[in-house]
């Protein structure tokens, strides 16, 4: 089963998204910020593995995700692993006009909630996204008229 984890820096900026399957790497997608700061490191992991103390953990090993968590802490980053039912809510959050700091805080709070609460939060975010979408549609009409 695929697990998605998000990597944030100390200023709550999103650096990348790591997808794993039973701990082993499936996909690592860096944001523009992440690419400029970690692009070389992540590229090196593909062949050399993630540094963990004096050893290295290969991307296909089940220990890959724990090694990335450990590396993240060492680098002063934060890796938030999403329960599968939180992924949808996160995707909605990414298109809503939150500040980076707010998006991170909301996600960190969301993943500590129980399933029922997460469902409630997701419904709320979906409702908000529809309201924002309608507002944007009105703006497009105004711009066309302008």
């Amino acid at each position: 089963m695929e697990t998605v984890s998000l990597l944030f820096d100390a200023n709550d900026r999103l650096l990348g998204e790591v997808s794993t399957d039973v701990g082993a790497l499936r996909r690592f997608v860096l944001t523009q910020e992440g690419e400029s700061r970690l692009g070389d490191d992540v590229a090196a992991w593909q062949t050399q593995g993630v540094p963990l103390g004096r050893a290295r953990v290969l991307v296909r090993d089940a220990g890959f995700l724990p090694a990335v968590e450990s590396w993240s802490r060492y680098m002063g980053f934060e890796l938030l692993t999403l329960p599968s039912d939180a992924l949808d809510a996160w995707q909605i959050m990414t298109i809503l006009p939150f500040l980076e700091r707010e998006r991170h805080s909301l996600l960190a709070a969301l993943i500590t909630r129980d399933v029922k609460e997460r469902k409630r939060w997701r419904a709320c975010l979906k409702d908000a996204s529809e309201a924002v979408r309608d507002e944007r549609a009105k703006t497009i009409v105004k711009l066309k008229k302008g």
Partner: protein, 49 residues
Amino acid sequence: MRFEQPHPTTEKHESHEKKREEILRASDERERKLLLSKLLPEMKDALKK
């Protein structure tokens, strides 16, 4: 030194651009207000942290 009268078409374009920017800025503000008004109280609390 050289002075040139702005071309009428350029002026019109600039005014149009300015209006467009104003619409977009006002829209961003409205979207943000709307979003915050839709959040659950516990979500608003989480945002403050």
